[in-house]
């Protein structure tokens, strides 16, 4: 009995030692030489592997940062400037701060504004729907409402509003990784700068149809009338292909265009509500 136990222990010990040696030799022999800084950079990254930086994942991004000479072409939209500063610290280089961005849905074709002209009966995916036809409304540019952006968002920052049939971005959660922008077959979603105190002014329409056609399809369509462009003191608004676009790098949030727009296609969000002055 005792002997059995001793034998067992002895054999297992020898076996363990032998295998340890084998493992060590193999590990040494097949060791992959890697820049140790890649590990360090990876540690400071958020680890979401969202691909928002344009790389295949956080590890690939770390590699990219280490290999490129300057960090100008590298930006982690999830971690933002804080993380990039840390990366710069690890690598011992300088990096310029970038303005924080947020995903903006440029369509206000709610069920009410944009009556349905067809009924869609296929697989619930914007890509499938877009490949088939221009959508179940008269507008062939706007949101298709199947929620590909919701599925693409890894941060749970987009959800469909059942009342409007449009996606809603949770600004707190949005990391501006751009996954939704890529997922949207209609290019409805755009990354815009977050703006001072999150205040933003943007055209919530991308309909390139002529004014009358666009208006017929959707009450909230930009009809390309150009009133906003005329009233803008900073030349931030351009009207091209019957649709206005506000350049967020030029916009000073004066909101003059908002009042001017005849179809209320220009949205101003997060502005403080001005209390009516008491007389």
């Amino acid at each position: 009995m005792t002997q059995t136990i001793i034998w067992t222990i002895a054999i297992l010990t020898i076996l363990g030692a032998l295998l340890a040696v084998v493992l060590y030799v193999v590990a040494e022999k097949f060791k992959v030489e890697e820049d140790p800084r890649i590990d360090e950079v990876e540690k400071v990254l958020p680890g979401a592997n969202c691909g928002g930086c344009g790389q295949a994942g956080c590890r690939a991004f770390a590699q990219h940062c280490v290999q490129s000479e300057s960090l100008d072409s590298c930006f982690c939209p999830v971690g933002g400037n804080d993380v990039m500063q840390k990366v710069a610290g690890v690598l011992g280089v300088e990096v310029a701060a970038k303005e924080p961005m947020v995903a903006v849905v440029r369509c206000n074709g709610t069920c009410e504004n944009r009556p349905r002209t067809n009924e869609y009966g296929g697989y619930q995916s914007c890509r499938v729907k877009a490949a088939l036809y221009s959508g179940d409304t008269g507008c062939s540019f706007g949101c298709l409402g199947c929620g590909d952006c919701v599925a693409a968002c890894q941060f749970g920052a987009i959800s469909m509003d059942p009342a409007t049939g449009l996606p809603v971005v949770d600004e707190e959660k949005c990391t501006a990784c751009g996954a939704c922008v890529k997922a949207c077959p209609k290019n409805v979603i755009e990354l815009r700068n977050k703006g001072r105190r999150n205040m933003r002014v943007y055209v919530s329409c991308i309909n390139k149809d002529k004014g009358a056609v666009a208006r017929k399809a959707c009450k909230a369509a930009c009809i390309g009338c150009g009133k906003c462009a005329k009233v803008c003191p900073f030349e931030a608004i351009t009207v091209e292909n019957n649709v206005a676009y506000i350049d967020f790098t030029k916009c000073k949030l004066c909101k003059k265009c908002v009042a001017e727009c005849p179809t209320a296609a220009i949205h101003a969000v997060n502005f403080p509500v001005i209390k009516p002055k008491e007389e």
Binding site: E119, A131, S134
Partner: protein
């Protein structure tokens, strides 16, 4: 043993309700809108402007590339406007709007009923006529016909296959022309065969159309007796199976050769043309009539028999106009399909107009066409059994939903012909083709990108 293709296939009910309705000529409406994108490839460039007077058969748009085609006016009158208009999918395409005045044809067109059996000698002139008359494949893909009839250097056509399979349920337009215009179709085949260097021609027809097989065989026999240049043309009856009319499937059925993945039919010596294309070739070469008409079927189970039609229409007619002339849209139709129920497009916009390749207005009821609720895959393998390309749709579906591009390519998603057999046969109502079609596009894009690098 009757021939058919070797892998997969399904047997949907063929529902050829309108098969005994003779071809009627649709009256011309007061206004037509002619699309410049009626063919595969680059949309044609309009060469008329508002205010121009046009005659029937006059060129109104020119090809904008090698794979492109001429577009002719189907009416005489005044061009009202040239600009974007929504097509059947609701997408903007440039249309030429023409107010109809009278019915005056361009000169040189032979509008008589005489059948010209003599085949022209000059191949180049023949090809030129086919091109100038804007003939495109009318089997569904609308590929410019003259391009297909000029095999790339190094390839020789060994067999011209005329596609009279009409394997899609409901459609009867090809069947009707095979009965009513059989001789013209055979002459068209002889013309194409001559251009291709005198290879044999086989007219493939499914066995569920015995009258068409008889009519075509008789036409071939008579022409072989009375005129020159018709030797080597034969009619082959094929087993009924969908998608027999698919180009690759038809070649497999008729010649017993499989076109390699990514290869063109000419690589196995085959050129496939639809019977309607053959008719268009006849009209272009023998009668100088450009391709401005075609035959479409108005049908559906919910349509009363007297409203079932086979119409000869002119391009540019609004679909809503045709539906009205045909007797209105039935109450219980929820979907209108242009083309067959397996591969046709659901019409989103009835204001859209007919194009060269229009083949039907098919009314489907909710019971027929509304898809069931998707449930879990039970791995029955019915999709793989049905796939005529030997693919495994259940696998492709899984890979596509997880964006596994390498695996998709390995499992040949790019070979998919979008025939719809997988989705048709899935007992769990999984939208296999919807998903695979998108994945196929992605993979083909990746393959092309690789080729360019």
């Amino acid at each position: 043993m009757m021939k058919t293709f070797s892998i997969g296939g399904i047997h949907p009910n063929d529902s050829k309700i309108s098969k005994d309705c003779r071809i009627e000529v649709l009256p011309v409406p007061s206004k037509v809108y002619i699309s410049v994108a009626q063919h595969l490839g680059a949309p044609a460039t309009p060469i008329v402007k508002a205010g121009d007077q046009v005659k029937v058969g006059q060129v109104i748009a020119e090809p904008a590339g090698f794979i492109s085609a001429y577009v002719h006016s189907s009416v005489s009158g005044t061009v009202k406007s040239v600009g974007p208009r929504k097509d059947i999918a609701g997408n903007n395409v440039v249309h030429i709007e023409i107010d109809v005045e009278g019915d005056e044809w361009v000169e040189g067109v032979d509008l008589t009923d005489t059948i010209v059996t003599e085949i022209p000698e000059d191949d180049k002139a023949t090809l030129d006529k086919i091109k100038m008359c804007g003939v495109v494949g009318l089997g569904g893909a609308t590929f410019p016909a003259h391009v297909k009839l000029c095999p790339p250097p190094g390839n020789k056509a060994e067999c011209l296959i005329l596609n009279g399979a009409e394997c899609e349920p409901y459609l009867t337009s090809d069947y009707r022309i095979m009965l009513e215009r059989s001789k013209e179709i055979v002459i068209g085949a002889a013309i194409m065969k001559k251009v291709l260097g005198g290879c044999p021609a086989v007219i493939g027809i499914e066995e569920n159309k015995p009258e068409a097989i008889k009519a075509m065989s008789e036409a071939v026999a008579e022409l072989q007796k009375t005129a020159k240049g018709y030797e080597g043309i034969s009619v082959m009856s094929l087993k009924k199976k969908y998608p027999q009319g698919g180009e690759k499937q038809l070649i497999d059925a008729v010649m017993g050769r499989q076109v390699k993945s990514g290869g063109l039919p000419i690589s196995v010596g085959a050129v496939v043309q639809n019977v309607a294309t053959s008719l268009a070739v006849y009209e272009a070469v023998q009668k100088n009539i450009p391709l401005i008409t075609n035959v479409m079927t108005i049908t559906g189970d919910c349509l009363p028999m007297e409203n079932q039609h086979n119409y000869k229409f002119r391009i540019g007619m609004p679909l809503s106009y045709i539906a009205e002339v045909a007797g209105g849209i039935p109450e219980d139709a929820v979907k209108i399909v242009s083309g067959g129920p397996m591969m046709g497009k659901a019409i989103a916009n009835l204001d859209a107009t007919t194009v060269k390749g229009s083949s039907s207005l098919l009314y489907l009821t909710a019971e027929q066409t509304v898809r069931g609720v998707e449930s879990a895959c039970i791995r029955c393998g019915k999709c793989a059994e049905a796939c005529p390309m030997g693919l495994e749709p259940f696998l492709l579906n899984k890979y596509a939903r997880n964006n596994m591009m390498d695996e998709l390519e390995e499992n040949a998603v790019q070979d998919c012909i979008e025939c719809g057999c997988c989705l048709y046969s899935c007992p769990a109502n999984i939208p296999l083709l919807d998903i695979i079609r998108i994945a196929k596009g992605d993979v083909i894009r990746i393959i092309r990108g690789r080729g360019q690098r």
